[in-house]
């Protein structure tokens, strides 16, 4: 019997106790619902259940994100032993609603005014790998994760797979980086695994900087051990003994949950020396970001982990052989790591069976903007934007029409509404002038002014430029000034032409990806919505010249 089997049986024993309840009442305790006081709601449920002596029948559990953030705070009631009442989801719950919900539950009834039907496409169309435990397990309880097959893959890798086998499996799965570019994860791992050196590092990029994206935070808040397990497996595969999670300081809840998870994992000997009685040593530390979008770039991120200004440096040398403190370093983002354990557990073939030919598996998106069902979703690669926006997302608010879909954050682009049948995969999005990015998806309706939207992103890129290279530092300032001039109706065609040549310069000569991608918001909107730009020019549509010569 391995040490993992011990852990598993202990967790299962705990889990067994849970099976004795009639119902499990899950309260979402991820950030969006917490900001609507779901923590007080959970306490109120605890108190209410206890006061009525129902604590033997109803288990109240704080869980992670259930996805439908716009309808929060969310409360889910699942039958355990008692099947009188089917699964029930309550939305927009307040502390005042608690007694009524408990009353109803005691009488096996539903509070209809709060019920959110679950037979809607929002729930039915999703395929959950990364989010499989989100909204179900208690993110602050490692046993809950273990009972849900957690750390099984890691244990299996340690005891019955060679590091090369692990890399092979990840490569075969076809997993690609979920942070934006879509670089094949297996290839990245094998490069670092092959790099010479005794000391290697594993970094988890949780510096989710896209405004309007909250996938990584949600995963960390809802299922932190999944990310740690992915890092552990990666460390074993490449031969690293130290890992860092670089997480935004703006995510206090995610940081707390990560800290708790790290403590628990260490206590269970899932981290530290001689992990699970093997010869493998690995430890993870948290490093806090401090508000710099550019730190999503690998070399800037590593500078920041080293305690310096987060400025990128030219590549090569690549982090795979010259990374953190000059040592070979593997950098993946939260969602990439979150896929790893499941891939090992269910097999590369299973994973490769989901998605498209070149984009395997699923992708988590944060749906926001002018859309009914704001929230977090996970869909197989290759679904169309139409399915996401209309079926899952419920379409734009009443009375407005879809105009564009913005993906990839400030470095991405706007996809016009007429490409609504575009399949969502790495290549198709690039072809449409945007890119996958980390998963922010902002729905823009016909009330939006696209020049103004582009200006918003330009403002972002300008204030997030690190200032190291000239094209990005000065170029973004002028790009902003020029688009502002257009937006204020004071520009001419000459200004627009100058803006375009500046976009070309910045895209081709900047040092890092942030600089290179900073013109995307302008270029992608200009391509499709040029008429909106020209309508704002002093010299109107094409043909007119600024000043007569």
């Amino acid at each position: 019997m391995t040490l993992y089997d011990d852990l598993r049986s202990m967790a299962d024993t705990e889990h067994e106790k849970e099976r004795r309840y009639g119902y499990c009442l899950r309260v979402c305790t991820a950030a969006a619902c917490v900001s609507q006081h779901s923590d007080s709601i959970k306490k109120a449920f605890d108190a209410e259940v206890k006061a009525r002596g129902l604590d033997e029948q109803i288990q109240v559990k704080g869980v992670g994100c259930m996805g439908l953030c716009a309808a929060g705070p969310l409360v889910m009631i699942d039958p355990v032993r008692d099947n009188t009442l089917g699964p029930t989801l309550y939305e927009k719950v307040t502390v005042e609603d608690v007694p009524e919900i408990v009353d109803a539950l005691a009488q096996k009834q539903v509070v209809e005014r709060l019920e959110r039907k679950m037979d809607i496409p929002f729930f039915q169309r999703q395929v959950r790998i990364v989010l499989e435990n989100s909204g179900i397990i208690d993110p602050e309880n490692v046993d809950d994760y273990i009972a849900a097959d957690g750390y099984q893959a890691f244990s299996h890798a340690l005891t019955s797979m060679s590091p090369a086998d692990v890399v092979k499996e990840i490569t075969a799965s076809g997993l690609r980086g979920r942070g934006g570019g879509g670089y094949p994860t297996g290839l990245k791992w094998s490069t670092v695994a092959k790099a010479s050196g005794d000391v290697k590092y594993v970094i988890c990029n949780a510096d989710e900087g896209d405004p309007g994206a909250f996938m990584d935070r949600s995963v960390l808040e809802s299922d932190p051990h999944r990310v740690l397990e992915g890092m552990c497996i990666a460390a074993y595969a490449i031969g690293a003994s130290k890992g860092y999670v670089y997480v935004r300081a703006e995510y206090p809840l995610a940081i707390d949950r990560l800290k708790t998870a790290l403590k628990q994992a260490k206590r269970k000997n899932l981290l530290g020396h001689s992990i699970l009685n093997t010869e493998f040593d690995f430890d993870i530390e948290i490093r806090l970001g401090a508000g710099a979008f550019v730190c999503g770039e690998e070399t800037a991120l590593m500078a920041s982990v080293e305690g310096r200004r987060g400025q990128p440096r030219p590549r090569p040398p690549y982090p795979s052989d010259h990374g953190l403190w000059g040592k070979p370093t593997l950098v993946n983002n939260v969602e990439s790591y979150a896929n790893v354990a499941t891939i090992l557990r269910k097999g590369a073939d299973w994973f490769a069976g989901i998605g498209t030919e070149k984009s395997k598996g699923t992708k988590v998106f944060a749906l926001a903007g002018q859309i009914e069902n704001t929230g977090l979703i996970e869909v197989p690669m290759g679904v169309t934007l139409r399915e996401i926006v209309y079926d899952i997302g419920g379409g734009t608010p009443q009375g407005t029409e879809l105009k564009a879909i913005q993906t990839g954050g400030p470095s991405g682009g706007c996809i016009p509404a007429d490409l609504i049948d575009l399949p969502v995969d790495y290549e198709s999005l690039v072809k449409a002038g945007s890119f996958m990015g980390s998963g922010g998806m902002i729905i823009i309706d016909n009330t939006a002014d696209m020049v103004n939207v582009a200006k918003y992103f330009m403002d972002f890129c300008k204030s997030e430029s690190c200032g190291k290279c000239i094209p990005c530092r000065v170029g973004t300032a002028h790009m902003y000034n020029l688009i502002d001039k257009i937006d204020r109706g004071q520009a001419t065609h000459a200004d627009l032409d100058l803006l375009l040549s500046l976009c070309d310069l910045v895209a081709n000569t900047s040092l890092c990806g942030l600089g290179k991608a900073s013109p995307n918001a302008i270029l992608s909107t200009l391509r499709v919505f040029r008429n909106e730009y020209e309508a704002k020019l002093l010299d109107g549509h094409v043909g007119a010249q600024p000043e007569a010569k």
């Binding site: 950030a31 969006a32 900001s35 609507q36 953030c69 716009a70 309808a71 929060g72 900087g209 896209d210 405004p211 309007g212 994206a213 909250f214 935070r217 949600s218 300081a249 703006e250 995510y251 206090p252 490093r287 806090l288 970001g289 401090a290 508000g291 710099a292 979008f293 920041s304 982990v305 080293e306 305690g307 310096r308 200004r309 987060g310 400025q311 944060a366 926001a368 903007g369 002018q370 704001t374 929230g375 913005q406 954050g409 922010g440 902002i442 823009i444 939006a448 939207v453 918003y456 204030s463 690190c466």
Partner: protein, 183 residues
């Protein structure tokens, strides 16, 4: 090598013990700089020259480098914040749903722009990149508490209530500050 524990804290304020603890935990290594600055800001609300100098000495990092790091990251602030901090989320979802109008409203009523504090020290206005409450856009974090679906007018009321509640009494705890990102 100098003994880093011998460099005394600027005062006997107990909060320095927290700062010291962070540095000790990291072995006084220079790479603990950002971690340490986080602890200073959490404890004191902002980073002043004295604390920057102290951290520089302790971690053996040049003071200009410490200053460079402290000003590179927008999360850090070198100025004390007002008693109340109003953080308007300017993430994309909030922008699409009119965050700019909220900033204008604060400006119209209190005469401050993002990054500024009213002369009486009552209110600081900051913008945050994304508080993750995209479903509640536009969102405002007032003294650490998130208010969603804010409309102009409604926001003024919330601000008034918050400011009148405390009057000139106790400043709001600094623990609220790490949730906001001064620009």
């Amino acid at each position: 090598m100098r003994n880093q524990t011998n460099i005394a804290a600027p005062s006997d304020d107990k909060r320095w013990k927290l700062v010291e603890a962070t540095m000790r935990r990291n072995g006084y290594r220079p790479d603990a700089l950002i971690e340490t600055l986080h602890t200073v800001q959490e404890s004191f609300g902002y980073l002043d020259d004295e604390s920057l100098q102290y951290v520089a000495r302790k971690l053996r990092v040049a003071s200009s480098q410490v200053y460079g790091v402290a000003t590179f990251y927008h999360f850090f602030t070198l100025k004390p914040q007002g008693k109340h901090v109003c953080a308007v989320c300017t993430g994309t979802a909030c922008y699409i749903k009119g965050a700019e109008k909220l900033i204008e409203e604060v400006h119209d009523n209190y005469g401050i722009t993002p990054g500024q504090t009213t002369p009486d020290g009552e209110l600081s206005l900051v913008t945050v990149r994304c508080v993750g409450a995209c479903g509640l856009a536009p969102a405002v974090v007032l003294d650490g508490e998130t208010h969603g679906n804010m409309k102009p007018g409604q926001m003024s009321k919330e601000l008034e209530t918050a400011i009148n509640k405390t009057g000139s009494a106790e400043p709001v705890s600094h623990t609220a500050i790490p949730e906001v990102m001064p620009q």
